[in-house]
Symmetry: C2
Subunit: 151 residues, 2 copies
């Protein structure tokens, strides 16, 4: 991971912007997240951070990762983080998901119906589904939203 210093600086600025305190826990969780090239779960980050902060709690790691997502220092990988939901509508359609209330809204958009999967991927994997996935805040959550509360 190059430019780790810069990245930490970003975290500092984001925290200050949102009036969140810069705690060692937040810094360590953020560093652990960056250090792992892949897409770790809270448990994985917890294990990593524990080496530097032996008595950090899992709850703190969870809350901190949430906070990082809220301030835009990280994000929750799509395809994770919600109870499994099923869709029986096999017609081509797309999903918008509210990151707050987790509600999923269907929408149709012609331009998204025939996604060309890159040759490289078709080669490497067996592709089952390709879709445009959009997330954000729905109207009712938007109204409730005033400031970011980390705790």
């Amino acid at each position: 991971m190059k430019n780790l210093g810069n990245k930490i600086e970003i975290l500092y600025n984001l925290c200050r912007d949102k009036q969140l305190k810069i705690t060692p826990q937040r810094v360590e969780v953020y560093k652990a997240l960056l250090a792992s090239g892949d897409h770790p779960s809270a448990e994985t980050v917890y294990a990593k951070v524990k080496k530097n902060l032996p008595n950090i709690s899992l709850d703190t790691v969870n809350r901190t990762l949430n906070t990082l997502s809220l301030i835009g220092a990280a994000f929750v990988v799509e395809g994770s983080g919600d109870v499994r939901r099923f869709d029986g509508n096999l017609e081509n359609h797309q999903h918008f998901k509210c990151v707050k209330c987790k509600k999923i809204f269907d929408f149709k958009h012609n331009a998204f119906e025939n996604i060309e999967v890159p040759e490289e991927l078709r080669h490497k994997f067996k592709v089952l589904r390709a879709t445009v996935y959009i997330e954000g805040l729905c109207q009712s959550c938007l109204e409730k939203e005033n400031k970011i509360q980390s705790n």
Copy 2:
């Protein structure tokens, strides 16, 4: 839900193709899934099916929904069904997810970097992220895969 009869027929055919038994539980779970226009969780489907099959178990609903996904009669909504995973890489990139081992692979593809969010959505919601999300089977899972086992 129009053409429910047709849909059931589809289920019958899919089951026969894959040599899966057509059980009342499967039919009811499938009907309940179709009947709910939204994106229900196993619990929600369970509640619905219980009206017709009072002593169906939640486990059966769960397994059945999985089976339906495996045979292509339904699918798991992206953004659900996996422990929450985080990504600290804010550069534009896309994800491929293996539906079996849940591993996430990054990839970059220029054509996917500037997704135009439909006007209608930008209006209705606060869009935070738009991405192409591709799922399927990774190579190592593909090798292990021989036939669909529903149980």
